[in-house]
Structure formats: C-alpha cells, structure tokens
Amino acid sequence: MGPLIVNEIISQNTNYLLAFVIGIGFGFVLEASGFSSSRKLAGMFYGYDTVVLKVFFTAAITASLGLLFFSLFGWIDLSLIYINPTYLWSAITGGVIMGAGFIMGGFCPGTSFCGAAIGKIDAMIFIAGLFIGVLIFTEGYPLFEKMYMAEFLGAPKVSDSLGLKDGVFAFLLVLAALGMFWAGEWAEKKFPREEY
C-alpha cells in the first residue's frame, strides 16, 4: 500500500499538501517542546537540559517501530523508502560542523526557523549564518568535492552492518533510548541550572 506517493495512491500535489501539514506539525512540536530557546538546546551539551535528546530519540524509536509494524501489517513497502546514502567523510565532517554550530549558536537548522517564527533575533542571525555557510559551500564546492564524495558506502542500515534483524535492532534502540533518558535525567539533577 504505502508509500502513498510512490504507489500513486495520492498525487504529487496532495503530497505537497501533506508535507505542508506535517511541516507545520513538526514546527509545532519543536516550539511546544521549547526548542525555540537556544538555552534549551545548548543545555543538551552542558547536561542541564536533555529534552532535545528525549524528543529526538522518542521520535526515532516511534518511527522505527512504526515503520516495522506498518511493514508487518503490509501497509508499507520498506524497500521503497528512501535511505539517505552514506559518504563517510562528509558525514563525519558535517556532523562535527553541525555539532559545533549547534553549541555556539544554540540552534539546529529546524529550530532556528522555529525561533525566527516567534521573533527571536538570535535565531534570525543564526539563519543568516546558515546561508553564509551554504554560500561558502556551494561557491567552494570544487575544493570540497573530493572529500565530499569520498568513502561512498551506499545506503547501509546499521542493522545490516551489525548482522542483526531490523526488529532486534529496533528493540535494542528502544532499550538504548530508555537508558539515555534515564542518564539524561540523572545529568539534569547533577548539573542543574536555575536561570534559563
């Protein structure tokens, strides 16, 4: 049955409409979780607030269990799901740059738009910085190209590289997430911060 767009159950236009609604939902959840506060996001790094970890890992385990159950019920064809291909070096470099920007700016790209939407000036400046980064990357692309395309691994799944069944991996992910939630709450008690 699913994915709806690939199997032509919905049209491209309906797809955009759904994406619009889901996008608003995403922004709503980010804002409702307090992600438009840069202090909250930076708190993840310093350990006084781990709501970022909780929200994103809850999303990850919900989505992975959801997809596997949908597949089990025959509601979705997992082979048609797009998996972002892995270029090892650009993934590592990108992760480091993104992480550094996250701590320094207090936003990730999604939350910066969220913050800008409720009128936060630091978020708007963050977005400006984001576009400067885009400009540097695109203009300097010939310089980065070699590293950008290096170590292409296809679109591997962690479960495949570990030789685990998808379901077993999802279960381990659930346990890991719950463990991290527990550790996160412990950290919040250990490094409390009043004024943020």
Binding site: S79, A170, F171, L178
Partner: protein, 206 residues
Amino acid sequence: MKSRVILAAFIIPLGLIIAAVPAYKTLSTSVSPEEILNEVRSGIQIITTDEVAEMIIAKDPSLLLIDIRSPEEFEKFNLPGALNIPIDNILSDEWIDIFDQNIKMNVLYGNGTTKSNEAWMILRQLGFENNYVLQGGLNYWAETIMNPKPPSNINPDDEIAKYDFRKGAGQALGGGSISVNQGNESTTKKAVIKRKKKKKRVAGGC
C-alpha cells in the same frame, strides 16, 4: 519520571514483539495476489532453455542458476555453475541475500517446473524480484538442449537455426554428461552460436 515509566511500559513490549517477528516479514512487503496471478498467467517468470543455454555459454555473469532439488539429485547432475538450494531451505536466512537482490538473474530449476514454480511463487510473495523459472525444468533441458530432435525439412528456417543452436549448445555444455567441457572445443563452438539480444524478462514461447 512517571511519563518515562509509561513510555517504557508501552514501548518495550512493542520492541519485543517486533524483535520476535521473523526477519522476512518486515522486509519489503509482499506483492498483491492479483499481481502475482497476472504474472503467472502471462508466464513472465518463465525463461526458455535456449536463453539459459546461451547465457551459460556466454558465461554471462548476471546469471545465477539455482537447483532447488535435493543435494543427492544435485550431486548426480546439475547445470554448470548452479547453486544447490533445496526448496525446503529457501526461506532460511542464509539464502535471503541471494533471492532478495536486484543485480543477478536467478533461474530456479528442478526436474520439472512444479517445484520451481512453487519456490518462485513463495519468493514473489515476499516481494523479491529477479527470480525466474527454467522452462520445463531439467527434463525439458535434456530434451531440447542435450538431445535436440532435428526438425523435418518442411520446417521454416528459424526452426532449423534453433536446432543448430541447440545442437551446438548441447555439445558445448557436455551433451548430457555431468562435467562441462570448458576446453578448446567449447570456445570454438561459441563462435557458431549467434548471440541474440539479451532480454531481462522472457515470456514462455510455444
């Protein structure tokens, strides 16, 4: 605190269930029965003995012959380069990567076609592609490739050409013996055989 307990109570059992489900059930979903019926009726899974013979002789790297008979039968006779996966084992995790891929062209064969069609249908229901069934199985292989009957003179030219091909192929593939002649003889024979345009899917001819 409490919300985490609720979350754990809800999500750990779900995780356990999905971990206990057999791997193939959460793979790409099955093809609908209507689609399979259509495919079976149009015979899209059948690949002719001539086509397979050509691919073997041309050492086509995309061909993977899969013998679904028992190991004993496989020992007695098999097609060159064939892999023995008895039909009882087709669902084991060991072979799933062979059946579920989109690079090679798997051709299943047994003595006839009943078992290979059964195996094909199971694999198809799992959503696997690139699996085919050898037309008529080994019996038909022996009849058409190993011991082709000469057509009578009134047959059209392409019948005679087909016979010539089969005769050449039969000799190149060892004419019914177990071992395959990989020596000079087969390379000289190769020159005789005209390579038809390779098709990915071949419907059964009559």
